[in-house]
């Protein structure tokens, strides 16, 4: 796993890719693939040669694990909830719950029982996934290496696939609720007649409004990805320094990230609520 610093950095920025390699392809260690089949990539070059249909197994695994942790934890607390003075864990869950409740109450003015659980899920799931960034860089990948996996990235939100997955899900909900609340004619009218309310300016309006619509999921995904990816790269860079210097840099950066990670999760949730609220707006 060592080698030059550049190799170390590149190694830590590569996901565990599971994809199809054609027969006759020469792999990283020199062996030739005998038949077309699905394997793990052994180098970054192989991973990019696998094409579009390759899966990042580590992103999938850790995002599902964090989802299960969130659901399991909240269900555990809910089953044992007491009306007396709450203990520590129940207190934490209740604080999160009331926080999201007040956010949704302030931001969303229609009637939809899906929005509050959706916001809670988005907030806690993204928070848990990004918080994995605070685990020191080499701990878990080293364990994975001992188990034979070449590459292992534990933070799903540093993979644009994960952040785009969540934001495309939110986008589908925006379109679905826009069509459901306003109807197709209402939705088309909103796209075609704003901001210039004249039938001649429909092409201009359509371009502007569809741009605004497309920017929503793209900016949601890339904002979260950019923040957490940049922070992970800096953690990897700090990990290259000699051990007696590392603490002076990694501690302040980790403390800064105790602010950034909840802030980015909060902004994603806030924007989800605002976008869905404007999708429900029926004048």
């Amino acid at each position: 796993m060592a080698g030059t610093p550049v190799e170390y950095i590149k190694h830590h920025l590569q996901n565990l890719t599971f994809g199809k390699l054609e027969a006759g392809y020469q792999r990283f260690d020199g062996s030739i693939v005998s038949d077309t089949g699905w394997t793990f990539a052994h180098s970054a070059q192989e991973a990019s040669d696998m094409g579009f249909m390759a899966i990042h197994v580590d992103t999938l695994g850790w995002s599902i694990a964090m989802g299960v942790l969130f659901l399991g934890l909240f269900r555990f607390v809910a089953k044992r909830a007491t009306t007396g003075v709450p203990g520590g864990l129940q207190n934490l869950v209740e604080i999160t719950f009331e926080f999201i409740d007040s956010l949704v109450r302030d931001g969303f003015h229609a009637r939809n029982p899906l929005i509050a659980p959706l916001s809670l899920t988005v907030f806690v799931w993204i928070l848990l996934m990004s918080a994995l960034d605070l685990v020191p860089v080499d701990f878990i990948p080293h364990l994975a290496h001992l188990m034979g996996l070449g590459y292992f990235k534990i933070v799903p939100t540093t993979d644009p696939n994960a952040t785009f997955g969540i934001s495309i899900g939110v986008f589908i909900l925006i379109i679905f609720y826009s069509l459901k609340v306003k109807g197709i004619t209402g939705f088309a009218k909103e796209l075609g007649m704003q901001p210039f309310n004249h039938w001649l300016s429909i092409p201009v309006n359509l371009i502007l409004e569809s741009l605004v619509l497309i920017v929503k999921p793209i900016s949601l995904a890339l904002r979260l990805f950019g923040n957490i990816y940049a922070s992970e790269v800096v953690f990897v860079l700090i990990a290259l320094l000699p051990f007696w210097v590392q603490w002076t840099l990694s501690v302040p950066w980790a403390i800064f990230h105790l602010l950034i990670i909840p802030l980015q999760a909060f902004i994603f949730t806030m924007l989800t609520i605002v976008y869905l609220a404007s999708a429900h707006e029926d004048h």
């Binding site: 590149k10 904002r223 990805f225 950019g226 923040n227 990816y229 790269v233 909060f266 902004i267 924007l271």
Partner: protein, 75 residues
């Protein structure tokens, strides 16, 4: 290959410039508004953080792209 480094430097630098000016104005307005109405301080702070996160978005995307360019594209 050197051009990739210059490109990454321009992306990150201009993003940092814009963010600095933007946050400066935002923070200044927050301080003014808090001085005018101290009872609104908490709500204003929450809204200021929301706007800070939104302002941060495009420069952060730029930093992410810059990091990718420096470490993965330009080896």
């Amino acid at each position: 290959m050197e051009m990739v480094f210059i490109a990454a430097a321009i992306i990150i630098g201009l993003g940092a410039l814009a963010t600095g000016i933007g946050f400066g104005i935002l923070g200044g307005k927050l301080l003014e508004a808090t001085a005018r109405q101290p009872e609104m301080a908490n709500q204003l702070q929450v809204k200021a953080f929301i706007m800070a996160g939104l302002l941060d978005a495009v420069p952060m995307i730029g930093v992410g792209i810059g990091m990718y360019l420096i470490f993965v594209v330009a080896g």
